[in-house]
């Protein structure tokens, strides 16, 4: 450090010796330290203390039910460290162990292990009571054993994930030979349809991410995190994608597949969570609904490839990139992953989708006037409108 000489500057600021800069840096830090010391020493907040008990908040992040009972991962959010005094299950006090033991500082987490003989298929209500007598309720709507990561559990989940993710994308990609015959205006229409589809997915993904973020501890500022992570992802992917100009052809198709894949990860998470928490069933039509809903995604991925001649393996790779994350999502979801991780995954997905919307838009408008002119063409407007409409309509099949 001492070797470093300040670079000679020609600006208005007069260059001083190296320690003068350190001094200027140290001053504000010193002031901060002084203010902190004063605050603790004089405790002016004592004058504002009206004897109100500290604020207590508790978030339930994970719920695991197994043969030894109920296991809850909790996150404290109190203004003072919180003490978990007792646990009630279905309005009865139960023995429990806390891991690690001790008071829970702000945003600290702990596991509560309750040897409760839960009843499969029924609801249970857990109340975690602090030393102040504040009960925090956690409802287990339908008690089912939490899946464990074993072949017996993971394989069937992977199959459902394939039905929901890979199969529809593959079906969509199979329209490729037909789409290739499209005229220039037809291609514009299909690309615009892709934009419409992506817009739908962007809103859907963001909505889910924000909803999940609402279930996280207040201190984690879930909503802000979702927006920031989505924007950072968007910027990062944009920068990577543009290293060698605006992505076209296979590169663009790959980015679309990536964005859709991340969206399907979120879809998988939700279905996996259904595994984890159990619930009475709807119909087979729902699976088919998903397949229909997601077929459009395959068409979207194929759209930028209509002027090239990719190999069959390319299509297989794209289908896996877009569809397989549904399987991963199912696994993660079924293992009762904490909501903030799920929200982060979806936020990344939203950022990725935003990037492909921009890039497909750019691809669409290349060689023409501006973006606005391109969008104003009947083919583009029709495509976008149809993309959104198809997604919205098939969405009705899966949103019950």
């Amino acid at each position: 450090m001492t070797e470093i000489k300040p670079p000679a500057e020609t600006g208005a600021a007069a260059p001083g010796p190296w320690y003068s800069e350190l001094t200027w840096l140290a001053l504000p830090v010193l002031l901060l330290a002084l203010a902190g010391t004063l605050l603790f020493a004089s405790d002016p907040l004592r004058l504002l203390d009206r004897g109100a008990p500290p604020v207590e908040k508790l978030t339930f992040e994970r719920t695991i039910l197994d043969e030894t009972g109920i296991h809850l991962k909790i996150r404290a959010g109190g203004s003072e460290p919180m003490t978990i005094a007792q646990v009630q299950v279905d309005a009865a006090y139960w023995r429990f162990t806390q891991e690690p033991v001790g008071d829970l500082a702000h945003i600290a987490t702990a596991w509560l292990h309750i040897p409760y003989p839960w009843v499969p298929g029924e609801a249970h209500r857990v109340n975690v009571v602090t030393n102040l007598g504040t009960p925090f309720e956690h409802e287990i709507a339908v008690a089912v054993a939490t899946p464990k990561p074993s072949a017996v559990e993971l394989l069937p989940q992977a199959l459902v994930g394939a039905f929901v993710g890979i199969l529809p994308v593959a079906i969509g990609l199979m329209f490729y030979p037909v789409l290739r015959r499209a005229s220039q205006r037809g291609i514009t229409f299909i690309l615009a349809l892709t934009v419409g589809l992506l817009l739908f997915l962007l809103v859907d993904t963001l909505e889910d991410a924000l909803e999940l973020a609402g279930g996280t501890a207040a201190a984690l500022q879930g909503h802000v995190l979702v927006i920031v992570v989505a924007l950072m992802t968007f910027l990062a992917l944009l920068a990577i994608g543009r290293r060698s100009g605006v992505p076209t052809g296979l590169a663009l198709a790959t980015y679309i597949a990536l964005g859709i894949g991340l969206h399907n990860l979120g879809e998988g998470l939700a279905i996996g969570a259904a595994f984890a928490t159990g619930a009475a069933g709807l119909g087979t039509f729902l699976v088919l609904g998903f397949t229909l809903h997601n077929i459009t995604e395959g068409i979207g991925i194929a759209a930028p490839l209509l002027r090239s001649r990719p190999s069959l393996m390319t299509f297989v790779g794209l289908a896996l990139l877009a569809g397989a994350p549904a399987i991963v999502g199912m696994w993660l979801g079924s293992l009762a992953v904490s909501p903030h991780w799920a929200a982060l995954a979806l936020a990344v997905g939203a950022g990725a989708i935003l990037q492909v919307i921009v890039e497909v838009g750019a691809y669409l408008s290349r060689g023409r006037g501006g973006v606005a002119e391109t969008l104003a063409s009947p083919a583009a407007i029709g495509g976008i409108a149809l993309g959104i409409t198809v997604m919205y309509t098939t969405g009705m099949l899966v949103k019950v």
Binding site: E67, R95, G121, V129, A141, A273, A274, A279
Partner: protein
């Protein structure tokens, strides 16, 4: 909360799994799904019963008669300044003197104080108390005594002592008649009548809060045998200090509850304040001696409370104002708030062991209102 999200997603995405399992996709993987996933993970319906419990032998893990269904830890009675077991027999008989007309004068001093108390291990409750304990001191007098209760309010709110008994309006402990501001003092004076098992409580408003914060206590008036020649023996056995009375094991039990988060529902139910206390510290009872319980219900928010005695039956004297039972040979009794009575029973014919007693509202029992009698051949 994540669960609401999950539920919402559940209903939205639906149970693809069970849909496959029930309707059956004829595609290759469906059979596997139906065979492996559905029965194991997802109940066919919420009424899925008859399936093996996932808790093979788990619930019977031994922690005494109550298994794992009990609060963890124990309450620090020293910090509370009172012990529910000691309160069973801790009668306050007052300072006794003779009035010019020969009658007995009993004087008591009671002070209202705010105090944080531990009602279940680790859970603190900001109580309002008489003499720093909940329930307040168990006043025990004899029918016909002149009573003089000097009441001081050392609390943060207006308080009073409203006695269930016979007295004049001026002594009723309601607003305008003995309800005093913090720092003030009032002397209640009246004759002890009628004999029975009674109570006193604060009658400041709002009544509900003053009661559930802890302002209540037993007020027992023993019958004067000379006034009840037709039941003199029964009266003598009830009169504290007589040889006949010493043959009995008498316990004061106040059924109460605590609303720790002030949502007008109790989080803790107990006898003598501390939930589960008499499970962790069973009441020692000598097999040969009969048991008499002065049972008082002050539970707020719930319309009734009850006591059920295991493996035994008792005679019950509602309000304790009679010397013959008002209910004979019952094992459960219910009381509305402020209702009280005397239970008499014996374990003479029983073998020694732990005999349970608890509210027969299972909810109350599981939230703390249960206990045990430890019946032994001789109490050390």
């Amino acid at each position: 909360m994540p669960d609401s999200w999950l539920r919402q997603r559940l209903s939205r995405r639906g149970l693809i799994v069970s849909s496959i399992a029930t309707a059956g996709l004829s595609a290759s993987g469906a059979a596997l799904l139906a065979g492996q996933v559905a029965p194991k993970d997802v109940p066919a319906s919420r009424a899925a019963s008859g399936r093996a419990s996932p808790h093979a032998g788990h619930a019977v893990a031994s922690h005494g008669a109550h298994g794992n269904m009990i609060s963890v830890g124990d309450v620090d009675s020293a910090r509370n300044g009172f012990d529910p077991t000691a309160m069973l027999t801790d009668w306050e008989t007052g300072a006794v003197s003779q009035l010019p007309d020969g009658r007995t004068l009993r004087s008591f001093e009671v002070i209202a104080v705010d105090k944080e108390i531990e009602i279940v291990p680790g859970i603190m409750f900001p109580a309002w108390t008489y003499n720093g304990r909940v329930p307040g001191p168990a006043l025990r007098v004899t029918e016909g005594d002149r009573l003089r209760i000097v009441f001081r309010n050392g609390g943060s709110h207006p308080h009073s002592m409203h006695f269930h008994g016979i007295h004049s309006a001026r002594m009723d402990g309601v607003p305008g008649a003995g309800l005093i501001a913090p720092g003030a003092e009032f002397v209640y004076e009246f004759d002890a009548r009628p004999f029975g098992c009674h109570l006193y409580h604060c009658h400041a408003l709002p009544l509900k809060r003053h009661i559930h914060k802890g302002m209540y206590g037993p007020f027992v008036i023993d019958p004067d045998p000379s006034r009840h020649p037709e039941h003199a023996a029964a009266a003598r056995s009830r009169l504290l200090g007589t040889p006949e009375n010493k043959e009995w094991q008498e316990f004061a039990m106040v059924m109460n509850g605590f609303d720790t988060n002030f949502d007008d529902e109790n989080e803790v139910y107990a006898v003598n304040t501390v939930g589960h206390h008499f499970v962790k510290h069973p009441i020692r009872v000598e097999r040969a001696k009969p048991v008499r319980i002065y049972l008082i219900n002050v539970t707020e928010f719930d319309p009734i409370n009850s006591l059920h005695l295991h493996a035994n039956f008792f005679d019950y004297y509602d309000h304790g104002t009679t010397l013959t039972p008002t209910l004979k040979t019952v094992d459960t009794v219910i009381q509305c708030q402020a209702q009280r009575g005397i239970l008499e029973f014996t374990f003479k014919e029983h073998e020694a062991g732990l005999y349970m007693f608890h509210a027969h509202q299972s909810e109350f029992a599981e939230l703390g209102w249960m206990g045990m009698f430890d019946v032994t051949d001789a109490v050390a």
